[in-house]
């Protein structure tokens, strides 16, 4: 089973620390400086959304240049191979792949107050900015650092955690124990009542 990071919306306070940390960690190793998780606010609750590293990943299937591959129980994207065709972003059922590229350096483009180039795309995924070469950006579980995903490390409420084979096994074992306990207690209760 592939591993992935997920958030507990009961614990997430929507502070965006994970997003900033994600940019920081990837920027340091020369990968695209863009958050690979998106804190999503809804009426029902808030949590960051990121790649689920699907075992039957649609992004892997549609990628025309094999930039997306299965590696060590993870779905990994090679930023050097990606051609920015956006097929994976369209195919992703979670909205976890975003086309992005660093903006070109230069005083005119660095002006924080300058408005983005005006464009009215057919679809938000097709929005573009002058001079920006976008490629697909998605969660890579911070494979490059031994301490694991940076978002998990910095989350102040510890809302993020990793799900892998072991986590599923442990959780299933706990659930089995709980269901046996519930059934047994029900039986004892019935026994006492009769």
């Amino acid at each position: 089973m592939n591993r992935f990071v997920i958030a507990d919306p009961e614990k997430c306070i929507g502070c965006h620390t994970c997003e900033a940390a994600c940019v920081h960690a990837h920027e340091k190793v020369g990968l695209v400086a863009y958050p690979r998780l998106t804190v999503t606010h809804t009426k029902a609750g808030t949590m960051p959304v990121q790649c689920r590293h699907c075992d039957d990943a649609p992004c892997e299937k549609v990628c025309p240049v094999n930039a997306i591959t299965f590696v060590n129980h993870e779905v990994q994207l090679n930023e050097s191979v990606c051609i920015g065709c956006k097929m994976c972003a369209i195919a992703c059922p979670f909205g976890a792949i975003t086309p992005y590229g660093s903006l070109p350096e230069g005083p005119a483009l660095q002006e924080p107050e300058s408005l983005p180039a005006v464009n009215d795309p057919l679809h938000p995924l097709l929005a573009w900015t002058v001079g920006q070469r976008s490629i697909a950006v998605k969660c890579d579980l911070c494979y490059f650092q031994p301490e694991g995903p940076e978002c998990i490390r910095v989350c102040p409420t510890k809302a993020l955690y990793i799900v892998d084979d072991m986590a599923v096994q442990t959780s299933n074992a706990d659930k089995r124990v709980a269901s046996v306990t519930a059934a047994t207690e029900g039986h004892i209760l019935q026994h006492h009542q009769t």
Binding site: I13, A20, H24, G45
Partner: protein, 737 residues
């Protein structure tokens, strides 16, 4: 690599952090696991908001305005010019023609010396700071009812002891994320969470019970809760008899607020009000967290007194986890108030109008002091326009973005004979100054901050300031010496602190730097070196009021105006109403606040690329129902106007705001909501403006209008001056032999 332990410069939570330093530059920040509040964690501002320290646009030399631009000058030239001009203005118009805005961003020591400068050197009580715009009602309200305008308990108690947490008017998750963590801890332990807020904030979303109170209707909500508590006999009769004054009047006042009629007024279901009241009164330990959603109203003091009434009537005070928690927005706003950067109070909460207090400080400072209460921040613009204030010194504040009705404020600044600004950058305000002084900032100086929970913590310098930038205490000390005052012979922040400990011994006597260095701070009062500090106030049932009893006060409310006969039924009741209600021309209500990834006017966080990436521009929250009517899609430009002005920014279509309400921040100069807020409607007790409600109209806008708006804002704020001056001062530096 060197690691320096210090305190976060942003909100009042006071998280401890470890700075990594390489070649005199802060390269990384980590949380400090040994700290009882932050427990090793930090929010995005704490972790990534440090790039401003080494920013190339930091002010490096004093500047004087010449021919419409700025010229770099020496400290001697700048200070001489200030001394000469201040002397002339004082001789012509008297000491009250000078006003000083100190800063809640500065240390305790800097605030102490700033107010001492105004009082002892200039001879005026015209010293105030931005607490006027945030927690002035807390200082006024809680001082009146309980005796201390401060949080009664400590933050970790929320996680360990409170079994009910009532959050009213606080966006805790965004504005105090590490306090929110303790609230979640409580919830996991089984504590109940009740949130009263017009916006569906993160905490509202996590609450067991969310009361969607309409903007400005806190008083009727709390009165209705008190009504239920008294009707059902859930009040603590023995405690009220022995330890409180005014219960009978309060009972009469809340009689008028049955939950059914308040439900009609507010739209909150009566059953919800009843269940909140029962839960609060019967909890073993209930804590109320509140912030600007309570204070920034013309009835801010009334709102605070209502909260105090609720806690006293149910005796939810003076025990672990039971108390009132005003969450302070700035790292040292508690300290700035405690150290006397207020027009009516000396350090340690002593009153300028009280003769014995005045004599105490006259003796301590060796001068005679004025008895007249000084001007509040919000009174200064009109006093400038009336010609009564001619010189203004702003020490580390940026009112050109943060004060209400900016156009009016900017107009007032133009009329000054002397505007001096000390800051880290050539801010929107500094660009309008006659003289700008480069200040050393966080990470570069020592001193102490007082957190929202009264915890005094020691800062440590990590890097040296850029160019000739100096700590604020040095600026005030040097100015004072040049003006002929000899009572400021300090060699450093610790000397000032030792004087603070002598003049306000009841609070600080036991807090030496040596002691603070060894621990994560001490909470005042801490009168002696062997005193452990006081995390919980009023634990012995004795309050800091003159009678040592808690004061209950009737608080009346009507959205338009409280009828005269209702007022007359009580002796000096506090009354509240909404100053600017929506009408047919301005049918929306505009309310204001902050986002988690930026801090106030972005002077610091605007220099952090990671934080700018999270929050690149203003997004005005608009309810989907209104968006549908206005044919606005998420991300479209909208124009929000009030009687003061208009801004254009992108819409965030979201249920976070109720229909007919829009929410905007004051982070961005190109869409500053404070051009729309009202400076005329002030709380009569403390002078706070009603930031949280302005009648507004909202219209769909366009890219073209957004560009035109940007051009006009650019003309108003002239952001290009900052870079030009930075380039010029760097070049001049290089030309010097």
């Amino acid at each position: 690599m060197a690691k320096v332990k210090t305190i976060c410069p942003y909100c009042g939570t006071g998280c401890s952090m470890l700075l990594s330093i390489e070649r005199n530059i802060i390269t990384d920040i980590d949380g400090d696991p040994s700290h009882p509040v932050s427990e090793g964690e930090l929010c995005p501002k704490g972790l990534y908001g440090f790039k401003h320290v080494a920013d190339p646009e930091r002010l490096r030399t004093p500047l004087m305005k010449r021919n419409g631009g700025f010229a770099a000058v020496t400290w001697d030239a700048a200070l001489d010019a200030i001394v000469q001009k201040l002397g002339a203005i004082k001789a012509e118009s008297g000491p009250d023609a000078f006003a000083l805005f100190a800063s809640a961003r500065g240390t305790n020591e800097e605030n102490y010396i700033a107010q001492k400068f105004a009082r002892a050197v200039i001879g005026t009580n015209n010293v105030d700071h931005c607490a006027r715009l945030c927690h002035a009602p807390t200082t006024a309200g809680l001082a009146l009812t309980l005796g201390n305008g401060a949080m009664s308990n400590s933050i970790p108690e929320l996680g360990t002891d409170s079994d009910l947490i009532f959050i009213i008017g606080s966006n805790t998750a965004e504005c105090h994320p590490l306090v929110a963590k303790h609230v979640l801890k409580a919830k996991e332990r089984g504590a109940k969470l009740i949130v009263a807020d017009p916006r569906l904030t993160e905490m509202a979303n996590k609450a067991h019970l969310w009361l969607r109170v309409p903007l400005g209707h806190d008083i009727p909500l709390i009165n209705a809760m008190l009504h239920v508590i008294v009707k059902e006999g859930l009040h603590k009769a023995d405690f009220l008899r022995d330890r409180a004054i005014g219960f009978e009047d309060l009972v009469r006042a809340v009689e008028d607020y049955p939950p059914e009629s308040v439900a009609r007024m507010t739209g909150i279901p009566a059953d919800d009000i009843i269940s909140a009241a029962r839960g609060f009164a019967t909890a073993k330990a209930a804590a109320t967290l509140y912030a600007m959603g309570v204070t920034q109203f013309t009835c801010g003091t009334g709102n605070v007194v209502s909260i105090s009434n609720l806690h006293v009537v149910t005796q939810q005070i003076g025990r672990p986890g039971a108390g009132i928690c005003p969450l302070r927005g700035q790292n040292n706003v508690q300290g700035a108030c405690d150290l006397g950067s207020l027009p009516n109070l000396y350090p340690g909460g002593k009153s300028v109008a009280h003769e014995a207090d005045r004599v105490w400080f006259e003796k301590a400072w060796g001068v005679s002091l004025p008895a007249k209460v000084g001007l509040k921040v919000t009174e200064v613009p009109n006093e400038i326009l009336a010609g009564n204030v001619r010189a203004l010194l702003i020490d580390g504040e940026n009112p050109m973005l943060s004060d209400p009705d900016i156009k009016h404020f900017g107009h007032a600044l133009e009329k000054l004979d002397l505007l001096v600004v000390a800051d880290l950058f050539l801010t929107e305000t500094a660009r309008r100054a006659d003289i700008v002084l480069p200040a050393a900032g966080w990470g570069e100086k020592d001193g102490t901050f007082t957190t929202t929970e009264r915890r005094v913590q020691l800062l440590r310098p990590a890097v040296t300031p850029p160019g000739e930038a100096k700590p604020d205490w040095w600026i005030f000390k040097t100015l004072a010496e040049r003006m002929g005052y000899s009572g400021m012979a300090y060699q450093g922040a610790e000397d000032i602190w030792d004087e603070v400990r002598r003049v306000a011994p009841a609070n600080y006597g036991g807090m030496s730097y040596a002691r603070l260095d060894k621990m994560p701070g001490l909470s005042w009062p801490c009168p002696s070196e062997d005193h452990p500090g006081t995390p919980i106030l009023y634990a012995d049932g004795s309050f800091a009021t003159p009678s040592h009893k808690a004061l209950l006060k009737p608080v009346l409310f009507h959205p338009i105006s409280v009828p005269e006969e209702k007022r007359k039924a009580f002796e000096a009741p506090i009354v509240g109403h909404i100053a600017e209600r929506p009408d047919t021309e301005y049918p929306f209500m505009l309310t204001t606040g902050r986002r988690v990834y930026h801090y106030h006017t972005r002077t610091m966080t605007g220099r952090a690329p990671l934080l700018n990436q999270l929050g690149p521009d203003e997004k005005i929250e608009l309810n989907p129902q209104d968006a549908h009517e206005l044919e606005v899609r998420d991300g479209d430009y909208i124009k929000v106007s009030t009687r003061r002005g208009a801004i254009v920014a992108r819409a965030w279509v979201t249920e976070r705001v109720p229909p007919r309400t829009v929410f905007s921040t004051f982070h961005y100069w190109d869409a500053d909501v404070n051009q729309l807020t009202n400076a005329e409607n002030l709380d009569p007790y403390c002078g706070i403006p009603e930031y949280k409600i302005s009648a507004a109209k909202v219209a769909k806008s366009s890219s073209a209008e957004a560009k035109a708006n940007l051009a006009s804002q650019r003309e108003f704020y002239r952001p290009e001056v900052e870079r030009a001056v930075a380039l010029q001062t760097h070049a001049e530096k290089e030309l010097q032999p």
